[in-house]
């Protein structure tokens, strides 16, 4: 049996100033190369779960192991191996950063202190931009792009890392239908070709990529269902109807 890439043992996360945990006693184990969708109603704790996994939010109870190490102790090193696309982002027109720099920045953690990006770093960033069809926008300020284009830039940034784990929080939320299909296909291809462990948070059940066979249902910060896609989606649909 393979060692899990992500393992949460009895994990709770409470936001500062709150009393009720946003996620509560989570037990979750993700094997290498798995493609898992996290679904649930608004406020279920889906984003909190992703940010607890990559250590952006410190957990208050339990343990989170990523790539065999404790995220609380090795956060920056581990995050340099994790690609993450956040749900919330807003770059106003004054942000002094070009698209190509945003993508290259994804690799800064890997490059390390007192080192400069190499030609290979720049090539990876350019490759990621081309994959997302953004190469022509490379010299434009990020704040001048539409929300959908900005979301694609953040996905390119995550892929430019050449990550071992990909965490995607509502990655289609700003995209039109055509772009959504294109991006979903790209994510599926990366998962398939690179055996990339992928967690995708979605509220739209229709958007779950076909190659994603395991689904975790979160509700009120707890894991309610975890299993085969059809069974969990059906359970979620039923509970919503009620």
């Amino acid at each position: 049996m393979a060692t899990p890439v992500i393992e949460l043992q009895n994990v709770s996360t409470i936001y500062e100033g709150e009393r009720v945990p946003a996620i509560h006693e989570i037990e979750l184990s993700i094997d290498p190369g798995e493609f898992v969708a996290i679904i649930g109603p608004n406020g279920a704790g889906k984003t909190t779960l992703l940010e607890t996994i990559n250590g952006l939010l410190p957990y208050t109870r339990g343990r989170v192991w990523v790539l065999g190490r404790d995220i609380a102790r090795f956060g920056p090193q581990l995050r340099s191996e994790i690609g993450y696309v956040p749900q919330e982002f807003q770059f106003d027109e004054t942000v002094p950063v070009l698209v190509k720099d945003v993508v290259l920045m994804g690799r800064y953690g890997r490059i390390g202190l007192l080192r400069w990006p190499t030609a290979e770093d720049c090539a990876r960033a350019h490759e990621a931009l081309e994959l997302l069809g953004l190469a022509e926008l490379a010299e434009r300020p990020i704040g001048k792009l539409s929300g959908g284009q900005q979301q694609k830039v953040l996905l390119a940034r995550a892929l430019a890392k050449n990550p071992k784990i990909l965490l995607l929080d509502e990655p289609f939320s700003h995209l039109d239908f055509a772009a959504r299909d294109e991006v979903a296909e790209l994510i599926a291809r990366w998962h398939r070709e690179r055996a990339l462990t992928t967690l995708i948070v979605l509220h739209d059940l229709e958007a779950i990529p076909p190659s994603c066979h395991r689904v975790v249902l979160l509700d009120e910060g707890r894991v309610r269902q975890d299993g085969m896609r059809e069974r969990v989606v059906q359970a979620f649909a039923l509970s919503y109807r009620k």
Binding site: P76, L78, R79, S80, V95, P96, V97, M105, G106, R110
Partner: protein, 270 residues
């Protein structure tokens, strides 16, 4: 020139240029990270510290440094976690530090509004010494070196702190390094520009550069260069019209920023 010995003139011009360069460079962080309220409070804490120095006979610069850095140490975590809105921090602490400064000036031996006291408020040409010049050169050199060495970390932090953390950069040490350097810059700039006005020199050159560029390297470069320009032209005006040097620098800085907003390509459609 105007009866001022060349050696003093060179000290003054060098001091003005270095103050402007350091303020412009550090101001880029202040503007982008929206640390205005923190910088404003730090500048008045530095003023209060220097005034305490005058009142007690302790070196004003040492207490100005202490005031600015202590403010950064206390308010940094508050601003970082955004527990209090920026205007609340300024609203409460600006009058407090200002009141402290004025009380210390009142308690200073001699006339309350002696030339050294006024120099703390408005800046003074005569207060600039050769030792100040060396300190300013050290600060500016160190700031350039630090920004150069850690440019990619600062770039990521100035883009988006959460995304910088996400890419594996521990942002907290860099954030506090910025606050520390800003505190030192404010304290050293106090002599030339004065406690009431030093913050403008920290804000205007960078805010002007932001009107023209999207490339952070260019913004750092031009903010430092504009800082030199504003401080030097302000100094010249101060000589020509016998104005307080701090006020003259602020007038030029504000004029420069106003022109930049008017001509900014970012505000015009292609």
């Amino acid at each position: 020139m105007y009866g001022v010995p060349w050696s003093l003139l060179i000290t003054l011009l060098g001091g003005a240029a270095l103050t402007g360069a350091a303020c412009g460079l550090l101001g880029t962080f202040v503007v982008r990270l929206r640390l205005s309220s923190l910088g404003f409070t730090m500048s008045h804490a530095a003023f209060a510290g220097a005034a305490l120095g005058l009142a007690t006979g302790v070196e004003p610069l040492a207490l100005a440094l202490l005031g600015a850095i202590a403010t950064a140490a206390v308010l940094g975590p508050i601003a970082e976690r955004a527990k209090l809105p920026a205007d609340v921090i300024t609203g409460v602490l600006f009058p407090f530090t200002m009141a402290l400064g004025l009380i210390f000036l009142y308690l200073a031996p001699g006339t309350a509004m002696s030339s050294s006291a006024l120099g703390l408020l408005w800046g003074s040409l005569l207060a600039m010494t050769h030792a100040d010049l060396i300190r300013l050169a050290g600060l500016t050199g160190a700031s350039v070196l630090i920004v150069g060495l850690f440019f990619k970390e600062f770039q990521a932090l100035l883009f988006d702190r959460k995304l910088a953390e996400e890419s594996g950069i521990p942002t907290r040490p860099f954030y506090y390094l910025i606050l520390f350097l800003t505190g030192v810059t404010i304290a050293l700039a106090l002599r030339l520009v004065g406690g009431l006005l030093v913050f403008v020199l920290l804000q205007s050159p960078a805010a002007t550069a932001f009107q023209f560029f999207y490339d952070l390297k260019k913004i750092f470069f031009w903010a430092a260069l504009l800082g030199v320009l504003y401080a030097s032209v302000g100094l010249a005006l101060s000589f020509m019209f016998d104005l307080p040097v701090g006020s003259a620098i602020v007038l030029i800085s504000t004029l420069g920023f106003g022109l930049a907003v008017w001509r900014s390509p970012k505000r015009h459609r292609a």
